[in-house]
Symmetry: C2
Subunit: 347 residues, 2 copies
Amino acid sequence: MTDLSTLVNHQTRLAARPTGAASRENWRFTAEPVVDPGADGVVVQVLMLSLDPAMRGWMNEGKSYIAPVGIGEVMRAGGVGKVIASAAAEFAVGDYVTGSLGVQEYCALDAGALGRAGLAKIDPGLAPLEKWLNPLGMPGMTGYFGLLDVGQPKPGETVVVSGAAGAVGQMVGQVAKIKGCRVVGIAGGKDKCEFVVRELGFDACIDYKSGSVRDGLKQHCPKGVDVYFDNVGGDILDMVLTRINRGARIVICGAISQYNATTAVQGPKNYLSLLVNRARMEGIVVFDWADRFPEAIREIAAWMAQGRFHSREDVVDGGVAKFPEALNMLFSGENFGKLVLRVADGR
Amino acid sequence: MTDLSTLVNHQTRLAARPTGAASRENWRFTAEPVVDPGADGVVVQVLMLSLDPAMRGWMNEGKSYIAPVGIGEVMRAGGVGKVIASAAAEFAVGDYVTGSLGVQEYCALDAGALGRAGLAKIDPGLAPLEKWLNPLGMPGMTGYFGLLDVGQPKPGETVVVSGAAGAVGQMVGQVAKIKGCRVVGIAGGKDKCEFVVRELGFDACIDYKSGSVRDGLKQHCPKGVDVYFDNVGGDILDMVLTRINRGARIVICGAISQYNATTAVQGPKNYLSLLVNRARMEGIVVFDWADRFPEAIREIAAWMAQGRFHSREDVVDGGVAKFPEALNMLFSGENFGKLVLRVADGR
């Protein structure tokens, strides 16, 4: 067992709520000793952290599906780590775990905090650690359950997904292909579009950064759109709304184009297409399927082992001090694949 | 049988597509002989016509759930009439019927047109003629099936309906009360609000013309909103979106606040509340339930006979020449109850 008193825990804390995009001034960097978590507690060395668009929302005040991060608190983040001290029966030193670890190098959880952090053991033999933050983690679960439970794709239908090369988009498109759908992605840039078509097997991908999404939808969705899995909102949502079929399902997973908006969010002005087409638009939050994560992880891991499912992660080095810059890569679309911050080399 | 050659058929035709609100210049008034509809045809004397917000949409070019009315064509309108000549086995002279009769005094339907007009016999003994254009007609069917099939209200839930004193709103609120819900209407003006509370039994009604809808929702929906039946769109939809509960259902039936918009429709900028609350927004078109209209008519007529269901119609006199002014009453909110145009006195 590691001698905790020799360790320094570097952390990134929320210093002020941003207006628009977050910048370095919104963060404060601290260094603290690692506290002993007490009876039944655990200390986890953080190895990798997941960077997610939803983080921008957690920085805002106000009611949402989860409480905002408080000013002065360590920034909330899901991650993968290794247990370095444990007084809890369920965890042993050396176990690999996932959970809400925070943007810090060591996460000390007392007995009561274990459940709140959703700490769970993972099998690092099943897939590399970063995969547990992507297809086998929250983004994977979001895409899997959001598509299957709410999108309800049927064989032969056309499924469109925005943010196609992103963490959730990769899952949505590949699961839709496995279910026998025509799959059209929307992504920014030639590389991302080629990736989802060539490596992930999408039928087509529309590059919103070059050329018209409207024309792309006309060309690649000749039979209209039956399921749209929306990660971006804004103009792209509006354009897809003009191409939906009768009875279409629009899954509202996110709206990354709007998260940094300083004025009001841009509402979908074509929402009356829902009426004309007897279609529906439904929001999802991944935690609602928590009790079914294990079944999804088993199925996705099996697809990976069979070579039927691929994923791509963009692992950024630099530790917790790099978090502010890394987070902003999501909003500029700089990342290619699921964005992960490496905090320590744990294997 | 009436001698058709003695009759003159006055008609209101679409002359030009309006930008914004329709005015008298968008219409042309014609007088024609009544044509013999031939073998298996029927001539109906139009008695009453239904005036509906959806009519404004039919005047626009472009794809919708129904083809636009062509320039020069008799304006489409549902109505009640009396058969004055028939060579069809299913209809006899003297029968009362409903169907798509058009804004004209006589509707001649050849054998092929009978089905397209949806001509159906009604029992005038069951309810006065105007009721067949309201609770027992399309607005009633819209509210009944939209609320029950898509809104899926459960006892104890809170149901909010806009356009509460209108044709569809009356149905939605009363059916929701019968199903054991708390019902809050939104309507324009003190009289309408008093009507739905005192005469229709709504629990409360918010007057959007005096005071804040936001405050009204806070006051009258202390447990949030489970079902919102939207007839108006615009700011009211946005305000309700801030008050919905987890798993809420928003039924998109119409958006009367937006139908005369000359700029883009105002999209709901608070639509991400659907995500936070895992809620859904779904559009409806009444024709989808056509095969179940008879069961609904039976149930609603029984409620009326038991005194459990009331309705109010606003019958405007003046014949087909009055149609342009009467239609615009819908958009100014001048009508009080389901707006009906009397074309002839048929009883």
